[in-house]
């Protein structure tokens, strides 16, 4: 933490960044995102195991961008991958972000493509044990059981779109669910509308989801929604040998192809 404070101090003092997006103390032992713009405020920064939410989401927020690039972000491995993916998707450029990471008990600032990519490659996102349990559980289910499982889970959804808002890769200015000519996704949070929304979310994040889990953390009704995008990313990884968030120049897995992609399911 001391190192982080020193680093943050240095960055602000040298005017190397306009703002540092980090974690600060929140309510009842929670941590919350803080935006450090002054040297005095640096002391508010905390960095411990509670700091899991992916702060890269704020890099898409116009109010934050208005501070001007470069912006520093206190980053978990997932955040680094997210930033690499955002660069690949032309939402950020190299040099826009100073990525503060922990490496062997020191705080490093990553800016260059090579550093970002190397860190992303060396630091995979690790699921918490309950996620792995849930994945295993779903794997063992019959298709009917899975249907029931998801129907029960999705029935809770009232479409507050916290999953979308918390996801740093949901940066569309007009989401497909807000498109009404035609109405691809029913607006109403009834089972059909909820199903459409979540299958679209999963399809849109296939091969892009960094698996940071922000959507699940954000969900106020406790739906394990990340499982859908994790599955989508798993397929892409398995079938197309493609991992998102490790290459600043990678095209999308779903807008490229290999002539020998699997087609055992096609008659």
């Amino acid at each position: 933490m001391k190192q982080l404070h020193e680093r943050a101090h240095e960055l602000l003092e040298q005017k190397a960044v306009s703002v540092i997006i980090g974690y600060g103390e929140g309510t009842e032992g929670r941590v919350r995102p803080v935006f450090i713009r002054t040297l005095e405020a640096v002391r508010l920064l905390v960095w411990d195991d509670r700091c899991r939410v992916n702060l890269a989401v704020y890099l898409n927020k116009p109010e934050i961008r208005k501070f001007g690039f470069p912006i520093a972000v206190v980053s978990t491995p997932a955040t680094v991958r997210t930033i690499v993916q955002l660069i690949a998707e032309h939402q950020l450029s190299i040099g826009d972000v100073v990525v503060l990471v922990r490496e062997n008990d020191t705080v490093r600032a990553l800016i260059q493509k090579e550093d970002l990519e190397q860190y992303a490659r060396n630091n995979p996102v690790i699921f918490p044990p309950f996620v792995i349990e849930e994945i295993e559980l779903l794997k063992k289910m019959s298709i009917e059981e899975r249907f029931t499982y998801w129907q029960e889970e999705l029935a809770k959804c009232f479409k507050c779109y916290a999953c979308r808002a918390a996801c740093p890769l949901c940066y569309c200015e007009k989401c497909i669910t807000d498109v009404n000519q035609p109405q691809w996704v029913c607006v109403a949070p009834h089972p059909v509308g909820v199903f459409e929304w979540h299958i679209n979310r999963a399809m849109h994040l296939a091969g892009r989801c960094i698996e940071c889990g922000s959507c699940t953390i954000a969900c106020p009704v406790g739906i394990p929604i990340a499982l859908l995008t994790i599955e989508a990313t798993r397929v892409v990884k398995e079938e197309f040998a493609f991992t998102p968030g490790i290459d600043c120049n990678a095209p999308s897995a779903l807008s490229t192809f290999r002539v020998d992609d699997k087609e055992t399911f096609i008659r």
Binding site: F35, E63, K156, C160, V187, A188, P189, V221, G222
Partner: protein, 347 residues
């Protein structure tokens, strides 16, 4: 039973509830789904959760469901047929058990709001068929601030019966309305008449951080204050706060179907969404998140009080508990009451 007040043991209360279901009433009570607490239809009273500070979802969708079919149309050989769901609606008699007093207050305000003016047949009919049995709070957390917005942990407004947990696994209850009376009557001997008691010792005490008047006054001239931007920087623009709020009542009318057959639905909407105020022209009067956040606070603590002489908030604290970005409403209101001058260090 002639008395307005009674006592009942926990066990007997469960028996009464079981019986309520048995005679064909719909019982809705707090139950756990995973780590979250919802109000759901209950078949087994054992599943009802008593030990909690606040549920995650509010009970508002018992009168104002997240999706409400309002109208259906059909086109056949040149004729259009309409079905008005308000006429068809036949709500089941429903016992809402185990709400916190703040939720009961909120429900009464919500119902009042919908029934103003021309009225709302959907909400009205549901409210008529709803009996609310609330339980006073013996615990609170730092998100709670009911006392600061004019609600108390044992507020009786909106409830038909108010229970207070007392010693020896017993509840002390007050019957507040005819509907409450009917409920207690059906419970027969399980309810033991009692003299009115002072149960203040069992109720949690909550510090009054500010008063509604203070807030309203401060906000009157605060529209252009820089605090809105500072406070909402971390807001990600989801609808969680509005959807879990027991009082938020904004909705969106959606038509589903084709030219020949379709249905008109009323769905929840949120002022936190950028689309909420987007004009067809492309102009958005609230085009950044701070303006939307300001709208939510202003609406609840300035505009509603101006129009209706009450606040649009009961201090249940759900919005703050569930906010993905830890936007703490109580904290913001405290800042506002400190004349909105003390600028937070995290700006």
């Amino acid at each position: 039973m002639s008395h307005r007040t009674f006592t009942i043991t926990h066990e007997n209360l469960l028996d009464v509830l079981t019986n309520t279901i048995a005679v064909g009433n719909r019982l809705v009570a707090p139950v756990r789904r995973g780590k979250k607490l919802f109000f759901r239809d209950v078949q087994e009273v054992q599943s009802i959760v008593f030990d909690f500070i606040q549920s995650d979802e509010s009970p508002k969708d018992l009168v104002f469901p997240r999706v409400e079919p309002m109208l259906a149309h059909e086109y056949n050989a040149g004729n259009v047929y309409l079905i008005d769901f308000a006429e068809k609606l036949q709500p089941l008699p429903t016992i809402l058990f185990g709400t916190r007093p703040c939720d009961a207050v909120a429900l009464s305000l919500l119902i009042e709001f919908f029934n103003e003016g021309v009225g709302d047949p959907f909400v009205e009919q549901r409210a008529e068929n709803l009996t609310i049995i609330s339980i006073a709070c013996t615990r609170a957390d730092s998100y709670c601030f009911c006392t600061s917005v004019g609600v108390s942990p044992n507020d009786s407004r909106g409830s038909d019966v108010l229970l207070t947990p007392i010693d020896n696994d017993q509840y002390y209850g007050i019957v507040l309305t005819e509907k409450g009376n009917a409920f207690v009557k059906k419970g027969g001997d399980n309810f033991i008449p009692s003299e009115p008691k002072d149960v203040a010792q069992y109720i949690v005490t909550l510090r009054e951080e500010f008063t509604p008047q203070e807030i309203t006054q401060r906000l009157a001239n605060a529209f252009n204050h820089p605090l809105w931007m500072d406070a909402s920087l971390r807001c990600i623009g989801c609808g969680t706060c509005t959807y879990v709020c027991p009082l938020c009542s904004c909705f969106d009318i959606q038509d589903e179907g084709t030219q020949t057959k379709g249905v008109r639905l009323r769905c929840w909407d949120s002022c936190g969404f950028s689309l909420f105020t987007l004009h067809t022209s492309g102009h958005n009067p609230r085009h950044i998140q701070s303006e939307r956040w300001r709208q939510r606070v202003m609406h609840k603590f300035s505009y509603i009080p101006q129009n209706r002489n009450l606040l649009g908030c009961v201090g249940c604290g759900r919005c703050s508990r569930l906010c993905p970005a830890d936007m703490n409403l109580k904290e913001h209101l405290c800042t506002i009451t400190k004349e909105m001058t003390e600028v937070k260090a995290d700006r």
